[in-house]
């Protein structure tokens, strides 16, 4: 992990105790949701590619704590935690991973393509960099319509090497779009380290050619993330000033649940999990400041355990999408000569060998 300058020892006296407890609860919820998701993948309840937020809980909860309801979020495919922290209950999220009709994208999207219009969660995107220009476009629309709010373009460190990122930086600055380039710098894009992939490994500097301001933040410190986002969010909204946040965190496991993580030194991974565990570190902080006690931590753990189990039960009990709905939502405006229910059933019967 890249070294981040020690922040001044944080006094928690200005903090709202209920907020602090809520951050902890949300981080633990993401932690357990992801651990159970990994179990469900092994049980073949979940298919396709599946990327976990383990180790990145503080980056997510810190971000969401600073955002307002009118803000929008575009993310990459490693987004289970984001949609949950944005307020979508874990049940429909797990149901999406299970490919169920009750899922947030009705089973059509899966782990990499979560979405909730209601929460301005504008999607997980699985083509690296794809979400970045979209987020700038959303910010452009806000400005155009004179609406409040900002847009977050979340991405990974590896994504800062793709062309779309640079074009987006340029356009965002040129057109004064209220967008935050929120880079989860977990040190790796698959097996490629930041140093291997980026000639400028200080990712926060990558906006320099475009006069886009950048900062590096300790992504294991939920309060540091929240405060930086708050500050830059404010400037983006009031001045149309985009910014890069280089949020340093530690990826606990392989790139996806099926990655054996052969390219990282196991000793470093072990040490990383021990020293950069945002959930455990935050629990320690809360205990040290006597904001919570062991009993509260236990009750919270039980609550989270129950909620994640309920999400799994909900997903298990939910129906699969129906075959006849295969062509549903193909077009928003219906036009003639497009297939419908009957066509779906006919083709499905044949493809299932039921003619």
């Amino acid at each position: 992990m890249v070294k981040v300058k020690e922040a001044a020892p944080s006094g928690l006296e200005h903090e709202n105790v209920e907020d602090l407890k809520h951050y902890y609860y949300q981080m633990l919820l993401i932690r357990r949701f992801e651990e159970r998701t990994s179990e469900m993948y092994v049980k073949a309840k979940i298919g396709g590619y599946c990327h976990l937020n383990l180790g990145e809980e503080a980056t997510i909860v810190g971000l969401m704590a600073a955002l307002k309801p009118e803000d929008y979020i575009y993310t990459n495919y490693r987004e289970h935690g984001y949609i949950i922290a944005r307020g979508v209950p874990p049940g429909p999220v797990m149901a999406e991973l299970f490919g169920k009709e009750t899922g947030v994208a009705r089973g059509r999207g899966g782990s990499m393509h979560l979405f909730s219009r209601e929460h301005n969660f504008m999607g997980g995107y699985a083509i690296v960099g794809g979400q970045v220009p979209l987020a700038v476009g959303a910010a452009y629309a806000l400005r155009y319509q004179g609406k409040p709010g900002v847009v977050v373009a979340q991405m990974g460190d590896g994504t800062t090497n793709i062309g779309a990122f640079y074009e987006s930086l340029n356009l965002a600055k040129l057109w004064r779009c209220p967008v935050l380039f929120f880079i989860i710098n977990n040190g790796y894009g698959m097996g490629t380290s930041v140093e291997m992939g980026s000639s400028e490994p200080d990712l926060w500097k990558k906006g320099a050619s475009f006069r886009v301001h950048g900062e590096r933040i300790d992504g294991t410190d939920v309060l540091a993330v929240r405060d930086a986002v708050r500050r830059l969010r404010e400037r983006a909204e009031s001045e149309g000033e985009p910014a890069i946040l280089d949020v340093v965190s530690f990826r606990f496991r392989g790139h996806s649940v099926i990655d054996a993580d052969r390219y990282r030194d196991p000793e470093k991974v072990r040490a990383g999990r021990e020293h950069h565990d945002p959930v455990r570190n935050f629990a320690t902080l809360l205990l040290d400041h006597e904001i919570v006690d062991e009993a509260w931590l236990n009750v919270t753990a039980e609550r989270v355990e129950r909620e994640v189990q309920q999400a799994i039960d909900f997903a298990n009990a939910s129906p699969d999408p129906r075959f006849e709905d295969l062509y549903e939502n193909m077009y928003a405006t219906p036009v003639p000569n497009t297939p419908g229910r009957e066509d779906a059933l006919r083709a499905v019967r044949i493809n299932r060998g039921e003619w």
Binding site: G99, S111, Y125, M196, N351, G353
Partner: protein, 335 residues
């Protein structure tokens, strides 16, 4: 002859070509330290070092362009695009540059480049990760597009592609990587680009396929033999150039044809083949040609919904029965 996997055939061939010609080099995401997203390049970084096996950042447009430029000066890059879905961010370099440079500059410079990439969908990878775009490249004059179905052809066509002086799009398939077949290890054979192969002789109906669909066609032919139906399987192996004579010769013999491909039905590869048959073997046909292809949706994630949206053995068997019955009801895969 040793029996090896399609993956092994590719891996061995890449290793041999690197050893044979110092101008050959591999480029792509995760091909070295990570050992290849699908382990096609496993061990090659260790054997040949980082000058020959180049890990790239996630920058497809950039490194495909770099490979084209390097090819213009005599290197022979073999680029891996992790899956064909990600080639879209590089399509300008392939279509507007690689395919044009030799012809448009009056034949003064060559672009000896191979782009290897798996196409198609398996395992619930959902809409953005399950597509077949080989027809986009087969459409483009100046490119060569090959799509081997067996380990033998994978090896022979990869050799041909690496030694060819034009840009070759080499289509693989995740579902084929673990399939096995005979591959001679002592013989430096090459499978010619632009030549199809009758993979199985039959009398009653011709099935035209390539890549994973050839594997399915061969299984179906085997099954139908027990029902007394004799299926001839033409494996295209190359989409551009397209070996029309081999298709036509087969259809003239059987009088019936089914064309199967994994891409979407409308405007896909099957349309080109069916049109060719109609133009060149019309008088020989005893039934309309039927096309089997993907249902026209962004592939849904949900397991069952995903599975029924791709062509498979059931769809092919249905189509063969329709064609044998002389049906002109048309294909059920689209409106």
């Amino acid at each position: 002859m040793p029996i090896i996997t399609y993956r092994q055939a590719l891996n061995d061939t890449l290793g041999e070509e690197l050893a044979r010609d110092p101008n050959v080099l591999l480029m792509g995401e995760e091909i070295g330290v990570f050992q290849g997203s699908y382990r096609i390049t496993e061990g090659l970084l260790q054997e040949f070092g980082p000058k020959r096996v180049v890990d790239t950042p996630i920058a497809e447009e950039g490194f495909v362009g770099v490979a084209i430029g390097a090819a213009m000066l005599g290197l022979r890059p073999v680029v891996e695009i992790m899956t064909i879905n990600f080639i879209l961010v590089a399509i300008d370099q392939v279509v507007n540059h690689a395919s044009k440079i030799h012809y448009m500059f009056g034949g003064q410079v060559r672009v000896p480049l191979v782009i290897r990439t798996p196409s198609g969908g398996t395992g619930q990878l959902a809409a953005t990760h399950s597509q077949s775009f080989e027809n986009w490249f087969a459409y483009c004059p100046g490119l060569k597009v090959v799509a081997p179905a067996t380990p033998y052809d994978a090896r022979g066509l990869l050799r041909a592609a690496v030694r060819d002086d034009d840009p070759v799009i080499f289509i693989e398939s995740l579902a084929l990587y673990d399939t096995r077949g005979d591959v001679p290890d002592d013989d430096d054979y090459v499978v010619p680009i632009g030549v199809a192969e009758v993979k199985r002789r039959g009398e009653d109906v011709t099935v035209v396929a390539y890549s994973r669909m050839t594997a399915i066609a061969l299984q179906v032919a085997q099954r139908l033999e027990n029902e007394g139906i004799s299926v001839e399987v033409v494996d295209l192996r190359s989409l551009r150039p397209l070996d029309r004579p081999t298709i036509i010769e087969s259809v003239k013999k059987t009088g019936r044809a089914v064309v199967i491909a994994e891409d979407w039905y409308s405007y896909g590869v099957t349309a080109e083949i069916a049109a060719t048959i109609q133009e060149q073997a019309f008088d020989y046909l005893d039934a309309p040609v039927l096309r089997v292809a993907g249902l026209e949706v962004p592939l849904p994630y949900a397991k069952e919904l995903s599975a029924v949206s791709k062509p498979n053995a059931n769809s092919l068997i249905y189509a063969i029965h329709q064609v044998l019955a002389g049906s002109s009801r048309g294909a059920p895969w689209a409106k």
